[in-house]
Symmetry: C2
Subunit: 347 residues, 2 copies
């Protein structure tokens, strides 16, 4: 029996989302599954890493994927909302790229099923990387001889340098961004003394008061067993009789409704991960909440209609801190040179 | 005798700058000298690397030193002029950070004597990283607990986290950015067959027609023996009876004159390095010339009043390609977390 007695392997499903119940915690695997149409390979991962760090994927050549999903940190950009081309601000807080391979959908509103589809978004978003079209993006990458060779070797076929393959390669790299061996994971695997008593109290508390009804699964953001593309959404905020809603403008964005147009999706959001959350301030979809302590208070109030005392908050934060994993060392890729004409010269 | 007979160890001085003459080529050393007041240490280099890659040194947290001086490439940003905060454009082409420790002055106009003084500039430049003041910068870095600890351990003393020490750490990291073992360097060290016949013809040609009167020394940008702070400046353009001046707007910026206000400094520029130049298109202080071939033509015409034929240009470009060195692998630093309040939350 690897788990404390209070946890049993109960499958959490959405209709239980507000019911405190016993459930199983799950450690983070070392590897993430790859979709059948985009198997991992060393060469594809290396190509994807180059593209992930290459600012030539943005119109002016000043931003890369890593600009907002910074792997040197918790995988975000330390900002409430991201800064795109020409200083434009996005509407939502950048989600972490670490462990994103374990999500069943991507983006705060789940509008992409896969990492590949997610990667296609920001490149063309006019307030993010601002490339005018997929064709323009492909033409720019084709103007860099080293990439032409690499796509040929990685993907083969007649026309290997496509927008879809750019996204596939990026997704392959992202799939390697996994942070195993957090104190929590080591605890689950048997190191019973690695968690402080405070963190253990926090772990019990998040179960007892109901946080883990939604924050479940290996990424604490929904049942692990969900098939790719099937999102785990929850209403936020549930309770509005508290000052946080107005103070932090938490109800101004209607989340998934903006994707589907369906009234039942108003204020529905993909449940965010808890892993490495101590490294990803500020918090919430609009990045309006600056500290983890405050985020815990807000969630207890808006989702569970509970007011926590200071020591409860500290216990939960201690537990959340135990979810910071080990970040595998990243070597910087060498980017293929733009021999002759730089594709950015005209900008 | 390590050098070909045609080269003798002649010291090139400025008044010879237009006189074709024999001279000595010099290989790139493995290490760069450090100023007495900023000795290298492993911990200081590691801290400097974190700061070099940390976007929190820019006002909105969207740009780091590496954004414009990208070590994943030839050390530049592939753009004519750099993009700063809020999409603002700078006035000049970003010089490479690789081998910059061997320059006797920094910036196109030599307005900083040392890497440390250079590092202080872009952080506070309103069109670059746009931090409002040194005090603001220090306060922000002080808000990151990990940095406070590291500065204490690296610099010691009562007040180790200062703007000067931020710049010292960055300079220490930059001093490690050296690209040895180019084909040219290996040739100088005895591998006589490593250069193609074409590159060898180019090497003779740059000497014969006078390019190396200015492009001399280990960085091909002035005599190696110059003391720190003593720049090696040349007038550019020298000859204006050619179409390049107007086409590329090469005479609109008066270079060092804008620093000194002295009429004799009009159109005086620090001679740029040739090392890794095949990787740093586009060219010239305003980044207006897109290819290396064209850059060679322009220089021959504007500086030596010579019109080169295609095969001469190709020979010189072959030689310049032999100056691409080996780039030491860079591991990405982990950036210290902004526990609690992110210093960027208010932006």
């Amino acid at each position: 029996m690897r788990y404390p007695l209070i946890f049993t392997r109960t499958i959490i499903v959405a209709f239980l989302s507000l019911v405190p119940c016993a459930h199983a915690f799950e450690p983070l695997p070392d590897k993430a599954p790859a979709p059948a149409d985009n198997p991992q390979s060393e060469a594809k991962i290396a190509l994807g890493k180059q593209l992930f760090f290459d600012p030539r994927l943005s119109l002016n050549g000043s931003l890369s994927c890593n600009s907002c999903h910074n792997v040197m940190t918790g995988g975000t950009d330390d900002r409430p909302v991201s800064i795109g081309e020409a200083g434009q601000k996005g509407g939502r807080n950048a989600p972490t790229v670490w462990n994103s391979a374990f999500h069943s959908v991507q983006f705060w509103d789940g509008r992409a099923a896969t990492l590949k589809d997610q990667a296609k978004g920001p490149i063309l978003n006019p307030v993010e990387m601002a490339m005018p079209s997929a064709e323009f993006t492909v033409a720019r990458i084709k103007s860099i001889p080293g990439y032409v060779e690499q796509f040929k070797s990685v993907f083969g076929g007649n026309d290997p340098l496509t927008y879809d393959n750019i996204a596939k390669a990026i997704a392959s790299y992202e799939r390697t961004l996994i942070t195993p061996n957090s104190a929590f994971d080591r605890y689950l695997k048997g190191e019973k003394n690695i968690l402080s008593e405070q963190a253990k109290r926090g772990m019990k508390l998040v179960t007892d008061i109901g946080c883990t009804s939604c924050h479940t699964g290996i990424n604490f953001n929904g049942p692990t067993s969900l098939p790719l593309g099937q999102g785990f959404y929850q209403k936020f905020p549930m309770f509005t009789n508290n000052p946080y809603i107005k103070n932090y403008k938490l109800d101004q964005d209607m989340g998934r409704f903006h994707v589907t147009g369906d009234a039942k999706d108003k204020h529905m959001w993909r449940v965010p991960t808890w892993r490495n959350i101590a490294l990803t301030a500020p918090y919430f979809h609009n990045g309006s909440v600056p500290t983890l302590e405050e985020a815990v208070r807000v969630m207890a109030s808006t989702q569970l209609n509970k007011k926590l005392n200071d020591s409860q908050v500290e216990d939960i934060v201690a537990f959340l801190n135990s979810l910071t994993g080990e970040f595998p060392e990243q070597t910087l890729p060498r980017l293929p040179v733009t021999t002759g004409n730089s594709p950015l010269s005209g900008n």
